[in-house]
């Protein structure tokens, strides 16, 4: 029964991602508008991985976030791509130390609705999230590190609202990504990395996940304000709550980052030969 649920969820996710294909032909020659933002962030991190320790580790981390959205004029579909990298240093309540690092890549399609004479834009669609990372516990001699890898389908919603403040054009943007289904790497409950990587003895190390056993929650709220004609300042918040409970191992990496960066918006007009 569980396997049927996984297949259904995966099929639905692919359907969501495949939808824009129908409308692409008529807008093939439309100008393409690209919105690119690059941000860095700093904030808190909370780590739990019961494979390494039953203790919680809290600390500070830095993040890099690059967001690229491509959309053709007169087309309701857009492509969203994000690169997110973070590194954190955390301590337990008794000064044990863990380091955490991860790279997340997001890619997907969003469908747009314009409301309030274009002031409010709503987008919905799905992203694929590929993630690689690690947690390193400096106190453990025999199981010092945990490798992290997953591939997720994430239904996504974006709301953007344009308004004037002090004669400045401001854009408030909120994006939320939720998990639907995917796969994740995990050692089994008491399995050593020696068995997996030195002996090649695998045991449920690639685990199907759903929003039930891997209830992730990622959201970002940003404000764009034009500083000059060419530069738009973007500030905001990124919260990425990645968590899972597979193979009897509980893991969470919660990161909260205050972001600052710049946004550029430009268009490319295709020319026929």
């Amino acid at each position: 029964m569980m396997r049927i649920n996984h297949i259904w969820l995966l099929a639905f996710s692919f359907w969501l991602l495949a939808l824009p294909a129908n409308s692409q032909e008529q807008t093939a020659n439309s100008p393409k508008v690209i919105t690119r933002s690059t941000m860095i962030g700093i904030g808190g991190t909370n780590i739990l991985d019961t494979y390494l320790s039953d203790e919680h580790f809290k600390g500070t981390g830095i993040s890099f976030l690059s967001t690229i959205e491509r959309q053709k004029e007169n087309c309701r579909w857009s492509t969203l791509m994000e690169h997110e990298a973070n590194l954190s240093s955390c301590k337990s309540r008794n000064a044990q130390h863990e380091l955490e690092g991860a790279y997340n890549f997001y890619w997907g399609k969003l469908y747009r609705w314009q409301l309030l004479d274009g002031a409010l834009s709503l987008q919905a669609g799905g992203l694929v999230n590929a993630s690689l990372g690690f947690i390193y516990n400096t106190s453990n001699g025999n199981n010092p590190a945990q490798a992290r890898a997953h591939l997720n389908m994430m239904p996504t919603g974006v709301a953007s609202y344009r308004f004037q403040l002090f004669n400045k054009q401001i854009v408030a943007r909120y994006e939320v990504n939720l998990p639907l289904a995917g796969i994740q790497f995990s050692p089994n409950y008491g399995q050593s990395y020696y068995e997996i990587f030195s002996r090649g003895d695998y045991d449920h190390n690639v685990v199907p996940t759903t929003f039930v056993c891997a209830p992730e929650w990622r959201q970002q709220l940003t404000l764009d304000a034009a500083i000059t004609r060419k530069i738009t300042l973007r500030i905001g918040y990124l919260g990425n709550l990645q968590q899972s409970k597979v193979n009897n191992i509980r893991q969470h990496v919660w990161t909260h980052r205050f972001l600052i960066g710049i946004t550029k918006r430009f268009s490319i007009t295709p020319h026929g030969l």
């Binding site: 039953d54 020696y194 003895d201 899972s244």
Partner: protein, 339 residues
């Protein structure tokens, strides 16, 4: 379409928000640390069933026995002592409690037996002109027997080191590998060395791991094979010297070599330690190490308490070195190799 997305997002939001993956932290008090330690072992330790059969270990009885010795008014030294006493019930050299003030251990598997290894005697055999290849010291003894001393598998040995050492000893009549007092280290070093003495893929044991918190939640046993090295290999007779301090990865090395037809174990029983260890931590920051993945011999038998040698020999201590005392275990191996 709109409705489907709205319903889906609402459902996922509710599930995600309601599903925080977390555990409750125990209090950093003597009682909280005691409970945390007992629970970590209860859920992760791999030899409860085996040790229940061997000497009647009952982890719930251990809880009752030590719970009454813990109260929130005791100081850290007292708590450390009680926790170490509790861990010693497991009779496992891989079970340790680490704090900044002390290292809790159970070493009776070697302390209660004759040492059967004397570094001064070994130095007498090695002399001063021996060769060193990473973690190994080696030379040719007077009767053309090769001698390799490998006191710890913590020290890495590479394929190049082994090629050089075996080339140097190539014309010897036989080879002694002395792993006495080798307390273990990296299993891959033991595998790399053992690969020089096996000439076809050989089943040498099994390994499994826990799949859940229950005392009997284990994966299926996976075969462990020794693969022959593609570099220089040794075809002549070999004696592996062992004593009670041969533990962990060194115990595995002895178990594997014991499977090979041209290898003889000489000396005393090995110390055991067949559970690959893992770590966890207590609320007060102390680190606990415990056996997590049991390794068995080729007949699926436990080697947690060591294995017996083919030829049992003890060191005699009735004369001292200056009066011409010799290492009886090395001498016994030499006699076996020249036969």
């Amino acid at each position: 379409m709109k409705k489907v997305i709205v319903y889906l997002v609402t459902l996922l939001s509710l599930v995600s928000l309601a599903s925080c993956v977390d555990i409750e932290e125990r209090e950093d008090t003597p009682t909280g640390n005691f409970e945390a330690l007992w629970k970590i072992l209860d859920e992760h330790y791999c030899f409860f069933d085996y040790k229940q059969k061997e000497y009647g270990l009952d982890w719930n009885d251990v809880y009752a026995k030590y719970k009454v010795r813990v109260n929130d008014n005791m100081n850290t030294t007292q708590l450390f002592e009680v926790l170490c006493d509790m861990l010693s019930e497991l009779r496992d050299g891989h079970v340790n409690l680490s704090s900044s003030m002390d290292y809790g251990r159970y070493w009776k598997w070697q302390e209660d037996y004759p040492k059967n290894c004397d570094d001064l005697l070994i130095d007498k055999y090695l002399g001063t002109d021996y060769k060193i290849a990473s973690g190994m010291r080696y030379r040719v003894l007077d009767d053309n027997i090769g001698y390799i001393r490998y006191p710890s598998f913590e020290s890495a040995v590479g394929e190049g080191n082994l090629d050089e050492a075996l080339s140097y000893l190539l014309l010897c009549r036989g080879l002694i590998i002395d792993i006495r007092d080798n307390g273990g280290g990296n299993l891959t070093n033991a595998e790399r060395l053992a690969g020089r003495f096996v000439h076809e893929k050989t089943l040498v044991g099994y390994m499994q791991h826990k799949t859940g918190t229950g005392h009997n939640d284990f994966s299926e046993m996976k075969e462990m094979y020794l693969e022959p090295s593609s570099n220089l290999r040794w075809y002549k007779k070999v004696c592996v010297l062992t004593n009670r301090s041969v533990f962990s990865a060194a115990n595995s090395f002895a178990v594997w070599m014991h499977c090979l037809p041209n290898v003889t174990l000489v000396g005393d029983n090995t110390g055991g330690g067949s559970g690959m260890p893992m770590n966890n931590s207590l609320p007060n920051g102390w680190t606990v190490r415990f056996s997590a993945c049991p390794i068995y011999d080729k007949d699926k038998q436990q080697t947690e308490f060591g294995i017996a040698p083919d030829v049992a020999v003890d060191l005699s201590c009735d004369i001292n070195i200056d009066e011409g005392r010799r290492d009886d275990i090395i001498e016994a191996a030499r006699q076996l190799l020249v036969k």
